[in-house]
Symmetry: C2
């Protein structure tokens, strides 16, 4: 995606090439983005004036399908680069991901070269999505809706939080997708911890189900909160408040509004419960599950047309309960379209 835009930027800045390293435990998703592939590890080189090259090891070579030329690494990558590129003066790197030890060997291979941080430029390119990307995210969201539907229909069969997690993972795999991250299922008082680790019996009360799938490298991210047992009037009221907040917020999003205003409005809508809303109201989604715009009170800038994001207000009362409702949306010039569409009325499961 957008390799030409990046190359245009590089030419303007007199950068010779951009260099990205991705590893199993230290992903640079710019590699996936610009090459449209998902290598376990590898290096992507994007020269300003010629075609990109994706270097992968013999362990993966032959498996990787990419929009760019794939090359098998035969020697150290820094040596490989040195033999291919001469008279290099300016190299762009992603300082958000490149480590202090990785830069050493590159510096050694290109003595005297200047290193420019390209992290922000990549983030900005990725913020607004191409039609192709929007289609992939839409597909991921559709699959997510279907899995959520199946999960809720089968809910009476589950005994533990892990049972629900297993069900979600199996359904995703059946649909040919990986999970965006380990699904989160949090019931009873566990729901009060936003990143609860699913374990043990499903407890009565609110139960948060938060997951996403990866379709051709692109993520969805959806949360629904159901009720196990019979909710009190107060429970229903609190759920209604989170739901109303989410719907009001989404109805106000369109391109050009200030990012930080979304956060402010959400906290206003939650009123006296806003102190129980302990995370950000939303974040961009795409090839990464969390990317710009990060929608928080300190955010600068405005919401852009063609950006895709997750909006997720919540209430977390420690030792008591947790409620979160999250949908993915696509921002247009005059509104925001829901990409995840599973209903949001409070579903109660009474065994």
């Amino acid at each position: 995606m957008k390799v030409k835009n990046l190359q245009q930027f590089m030419k303007e800045k007199r950068i010779d090439f951009a260099f990205f390293i991705t590893k199993r435990d230290k992903k640079d998703l710019n590699v996936n983005y610009f090459s449209q592939s998902q290598p376990e590890s590898g290096c992507l080189v994007i020269p300003a004036k010629s075609k990109p090259l994706l270097f992968v090891s013999s362990l993966e070579f032959g498996e990787i399908k990419a929009d760019v030329k794939v090359v098998q690494i035969k020697k150290r990558v820094s040596e490989e680069l040195k033999s291919r590129f001469k008279n290099i003066k300016r190299i762009a790197i992603n300082k958000d991901v490149m480590t202090l030890n990785e830069i050493k060997s590159i510096k050694k291979a290109f003595k005297g070269a200047c290193f420019v941080d390209i992290s922000s430029t990549c983030k900005e390119l990725r913020e607004t999505k191409t039609k192709e990307e929007i289609n992939m995210i839409k597909k991921a969201c559709m699959i997510t809706d279907k899995i959520m539907q199946k999960c809720i229909s089968n809910f009476k069969k589950f005994a533990t939080e892990e049972d629900v997690v297993m069900f979600l993972k199996n359904e995703a795999r059946k649909a040919g997708c990986a999970m965006s991250w380990e699904p989160l299922v949090a019931s009873g008082t566990g729901a009060a911890i936003p990143h609860h680790n699913p374990k043990g019996k499903l407890r009565s009360g609110f139960c948060i189900i938060d997951f996403g799938v990866v379709y051709k490298g692109y993520n969805s991210d959806m949360t629904r909160t159901i009720y196990l047992g019979r909710p009190s009037t107060e429970d229903i009221r609190m759920y209604g408040l989170v739901l109303q907040t989410q719907q009001d917020i989404v109805s106000q999003i369109k391109s050009g509004i200030k990012t930080k205003d979304i956060d402010k409005k959400a906290r206003n809508l939650l009123g006296r419960y806003s102190k129980y809303f302990i995370h950000n109201i939303g974040h961009g989604i795409g090839i990464d599950i969390h990317e710009i715009p990060f929608i928080r009170s300190s955010a600068k800038g405005k919401i852009k047309e063609g950006s895709t994001m997750a909006i997720e207000p919540g209430i977390y009362i420690k030792g008591k309960l947790g409620i979160r409702i999250e949908d993915d949306i696509l921002v247009t010039d005059d509104d925001a379209q829901y990409l995840t569409r599973f209903p949001k009325n409070l579903i109660c499961i009474v065994k």
Copy 2:
């Protein structure tokens, strides 16, 4: 684990504190190691002369159980550190994981401080395992053996490589474990690619099953190769060669032998097939699935008592077949003990 050893080292080097950052997509497993916890993201600070502190966000706080004190992050971590530590001169960091942008804010908070790379020291501390660690790795290996047994017994039910992957993942979850990585199932010509991505129907010929589980943060790593259909005499001979190589190599491992000699011996044993052995013969396992010692021709140093490692010879003939046999072992002063023990006779599945 070994916090005191690290602190002793820091005192000798006049380091004030060590600072580690771990994130969802950029793990520093030293955080897990020294704190014996598995935060999704967080920072670990180990002062030379006082108790370590693990900083986690409100999203995880309340969930994390650790061997060290867990603190909820309330402001920027660099600010948090600045308010707690005064007159700091030398800070240890892991330059293998810390990024160029992360170091910026720490440098700003501790102007004039000197930053020392502690990556090698941590690797060396982690190379030899404590009794407690060995027990956890043994348990991971036992669970792996059981899952492999169940997988093979059920093999006739599977139609696709994904079916096998799903079965392995479900069994691991039932045993209360995560997978060490996405399981690898590679049949027919797919087996010729060491990091094949499982997809589509199980094809006749050799089928590689490579997976590991995480028990209390510690990994196993095992591979068995079975045959789908009826193997030829040549197939049986090649399988026998890989098996003989693996057993001979393991029988020669004990503390004190040169690491690079293991690689050399394996390639000698494989004879004219050594050109088809396109990866390293082995690697350490522990809190990381790949850690020192990396057993390859360029390796320096000797094998140490108390280290745990995976030994995995293989043959990969492009467009034809792949065979790999991998066990985890524990090195003692006079031999190496198998930790994974599932039988290695060639199992043929004929439907």
